[in-house]
Symmetry: C2
Subunit: 137 residues, 2 copies
């Protein structure tokens, strides 16, 4: 059995975050030692690793809860799990597109600035005047 600190080190999830996940119902309330400290088994470590992995991929707590619910019904069709992952992929792609537009505008703003004083500064002027932008954002 692992203490919460051990579990934290093995999964890379911080101790208060583990307790937070318990509170949010992502993991079951843990067994307790005589002195009321949480103790975890290998199964619980795996579940937490699953959660960590999904969070690293940007899935919301709600999506993860859904996936966890699905994973305990192995005979059901997996279309829903598919859908969750596909939607997340779509969201990630949309974010990338948006960030790329920001990148190109910021890049242009930074590259243009060669004034020495604020009154000539392209950064400031570009922000004050949307017309200097190339694209929508």
């Amino acid at each position: 059995m692992l203490t919460i600190g051990d579990l934290s080190r093995r999964t890379g999830v911080k101790v208060p975050t583990i307790r937070y996940y318990e509170q949010m119902g992502l993991i079951e309330p843990a067994e307790r030692s005589e002195g009321n400290q949480r103790r975890y088994s290998r199964q619980e470590r795996e579940r937490l690793s699953f959660i960590k992995h999904a969070r690293d991929l940007g899935l919301t707590i709600d999506s993860i809860r859904e996936l966890l619910d699905l994973s305990v019904h192995p005979e059901q069709p997996c279309a829903q799990a598919d859908r969750i992952a596909a939607e997340q992929l779509k969201a990630v792609r949309a974010k990338i597109e948006k960030l790329k537009r920001l990148e190109s505008e910021l890049d242009r703003i930074v590259a243009h600035c060669h004034g020495d004083q604020v009154k000539d500064c392209y950064v400031i002027r570009a922000l004050a005047n949307h017309d200097l932008c190339d694209n929508e954002h």
Copy 2:
């Protein structure tokens, strides 16, 4: 003079957000009508547009406050404004890189899934088992 609703429509910043910006000290407390309603001039509309533009570019409230402070000192060197924009650019690029890694992994996960049942589902299995990942994330 514009009401807060007019200002909102002209800048695309929602009414409660304008009030929030006032509270945060990004914009000066507005003049008031006899009935205690906020009234805005053209100058204040421009300042809010500046803020909107900067927020759209992902700058934090704190960075925007710095830029606004700079913009009222036109004789000072603009190196700091430059630095703020350059740092934001760096942050945006880092986010793009991270999201691209997520994209490729999610894409791989989704593409692999052709099981019909949860027990064979690659989405679920991939999340449970980090070894199925190609790269770090």
